[in-house]
Amino acid sequence: MDTSFFVAWMEEIATAVQAQRDHLTQLDAAIGDADHGSNLDRGFGEVRRALADSPPETPGAVLRLAGATLIRKVGGASGPLYGTAFRQMGRSLGDVSDISLAELSTALDAALAGVQKLGAAVEGDKTMVDALAPAVRALAKAVQDGVKAEDALSAVAAAAQEGAKATIPLQARKGRASYLGSRSAGHEDPGAASTALVLSALRTAGFRTW
C-alpha cells in the first residue's frame, strides 16, 4: 500500500463523512450535542485540502498530516481523539514508502492505543473504541491467517461496523452520552458509527487503487 493508497483512503473518508454528515449529527443529537457530523465533515474537508496543498511523500506523512489537521480543525472530543489515532498510525508507519498488511496492522494497533491513552475508554464504554478495537483484532487475525489484502480490509470494515452496531444497547460511560445515564442505551454511538465509516473507507480505497 503506497502513498496514493493512503491519500485515496483520506479522500474516501471525506466523501463518506460528507454523505453521512446529517446521519452522524442525528446520532449525536440523540445522546449528545448534535455536532459530530459537522465536526468530522469540517475536519476531513480540511484534511483533503491540506493533502492537496502540500502532498506528502510517504504513507506515514499522509497520516501524520491528517492527524495534525484534525487536531487543528475539529475541536470537541472527536478532534483530539481522531487526530491522535491518525498521528499514531503515521508515526508507526515511519517513512516506509510501501506498507505491508502487517505494518498496517501494527499501525492500527498504535491508533487504538493512542485513543485509549488519551480518552481512557475501554471496550464497552460506548465510544469509538468499540468499533476500533474489534477492527484492530480482525486485521491482526487476517495477517496471522495470511489472507489477501482485499479480504483483510473487508474483515476490518465488517468488524468495525459490527462493533458500532453493538454499541446500541450499551449505557455510555465516557463522553457526553454518559451524562444521560441509562437513557443513553438504545442509540448507536456517533463516534463508533463514524469509526466504522472511516475503516470501511479503507476497503473502498483498496478497491479504487488496486
Binding site: 450535542d33 465536526n39 451524562y179
Partner: protein
C-alpha cells in the same frame, strides 16, 4: 430552522465580527477566533483564558475585560475550541506572570486544553488549569465523564479574575478558582430543545407538557423527563438536587440563568422561588444574578447556580468588573 444568520458555516465568524464592532474594549483575532482585551497583556498580571463551544453567549467572549478574562476562544457551536486557538489566546495574553486556563469539564474541552497547555509549556509559558465541574445532575463517578462545568464557570471567572487584577501569583489565582468551583453547584432544566445551526432542527423532541431535568449547556437531553408543573415545584426539584449535594446555609451567591430563549419575566418568577427556598433552608442570597449568562442557543429553560460565599469571595465578587456581559464599579 429560523435564525438570524447569513450562513450556517459563518455563524461564529459573523458573530465575532459583530462583537469586534460592538466592543472597542475588545480586540478580536478573527483568523484564530480569539477575543482579547484591546489593552493587551499587563506585565505582572496573571492572565485568565477560557473558552468552549459557541452558543453559550455571553460566555465566554462577553466576559473578557477588566476584572475577568484576558482572552476567550470560542469553538464552533457546541464544539470545544482547537488547541491552536487556545495556544494563541494563551501566548497572546501572557503578561509574564503565567496563564490560568479555566476549563469546563467536558471530554472535548479537557483534551483540547490539555494539548494546548502542553505545547505552551514547551514554549516556556507557565500554564495552570482549573477544571469547573459544578453540575449536580451528573454523578462524578467512574461510570460518567464526570460532572459537567456549567454556571459556576462565570463565578470562577469573576472571582479569580478580580484576584488576578491585584497581581496575585498564579498559584493563588488557581487556588481561589478551585475553591470557587468546590463551593459551587448547579442544576439545569429545559422547557424546549435548542436548534444547532448545522443540525437545522431541534436536538430533541419535547412534548408540549414535558420538560427535561438535569440538562447541561450543550442542548443535550437531561437525566430525566417529567411533566411541566408550576415554577415553584420545578425550582424545588432543582434546589433539592443542589442542597442534597452540598447543604445550603450561610451567605450564598446565586445565579438564576436563562438558557437563551426564556423571558426575563419568567426568570424573575424563578428567582422569587429560589429566594423562598433559600430562606426556608436558612441560607441568605447576599449576591445574585438573574439573566442570560451561560446559554444554550435558543433553548427555553433555566439553571440555578449557588456558591457558598467566603469573605474573600464576596470582596472579589464586589470588585469592579468591566466586560460586555458583566459590569459594575467602573
Amino acid at each position: 430552522m429560523k435564525k438570524l444568520i447569513n450562513s450556517v458555516d459563518g455563524v461564529v465568524t459573523d458573530a465575532l465580527t459583530g462583537i469586534a464592532a460592538a466592543h472597542p474594549s475588545l480586540r478580536v483575532d478573527l483568523e484564530n477566533k480569539v477575543v482579547f482585551r484591546a489593552s493587551g497583556p499587563r506585565p505582572g498580571k496573571v492572565a485568565l483564558v477560557s473558552g468552549g463551544g459557541s452558543g453559550h453567549e455571553p460566555l465566554h467572549g462577553g466576559f473578557v475585560g477588566y476584572g475577568m478574562l484576558d482572552a476567550a476562544c470560542p469553538g464552533e457551536v457546541f464544539t470545544s475550541p482547537v488547541p491552536d486557538q487556545i495556544i494563541e489566546a494563551t501566548k497572546g495574553s501572557d503578561g509574564g506572570a503565567g496563564v490560568l486556563h479555566i476549563v469546563k469539564n467536558y471530554t472535548g474541552d479537557v483534551l483540547n486544553f490539555e494539548m494546548a497547555a502542553e505545547l505552551c509549556a514547551d514554549e516556556g509559558v507557565d500554564v495552570v488549569s482549573v477544571l469547573v465541574n459544578d453540575d449536580v445532575a451528573v454523578q462524578d463517578s467512574l461510570y460518567t465523564a464526570g460532572r459537567r462545568g456549567t454556571g459556576a464557570t462565570l463565578f470562577v471567572e469573576k472571582i479569580a479574575g478580580a484576584l488576578a487584577e491585584t497581581d496575585a501569583p498564579l498559584s493563588e489565582v488557581a487556588r481561589v478558582a478551585r475553591e470557587v468551583n468546590d463551593r459551587s453547584r448547579s442544576f439545569g432544566v429545559a422547557l424546549t430543545a435548542c436548534t444547532v445551526p448545522a443540525a437545522g432542527k431541534p436536538t430533541f423532541d419535547l412534548p408540549e407538557s414535558e420538560i427535561e431535568l438535569g440538562i447541561g449547556i450543550h442542548g443535550e437531553p437531561g437525566r430525566t423527563r417529567t411533566g411541566l408543573s408550576e415554577a415553584r415545584e420545578i425550582v424545588r426539584v432543582a434546589m433539592d438536587a443542589i442542597n442534597d449535594d452540598l447543604p445550603l446555609s450561610g451567605d450564598v451567591l446565586v445565579m438564576v440563568n436563562g438558557m437563551g430563549g426564556t423571558p426575563l419575566l419568567e426568570l424573575y418568577i424563578v428567582y422569587a422561588e429560589v429566594a423562598a427556598y433559600l430562606a426556608e433552608k436558612g441560607a441568605t442570597p447576599v449576591r445574585n444574578l438573574v439573566g442570560n449568562y451561560v446559554t444554550s442557543l435558543d433553548m427555553q429553560g433555566f439553571s440555578v447556580t449557588t456558591c457558598a460565599l467566603t469573605d474573600e469571595f464576596r470582596a472579589l465578587w464586589d470588585a469592579p468588573v468591566e466586560t460586555p456581559g458583566l459590569r459594575w464599579g467602573r
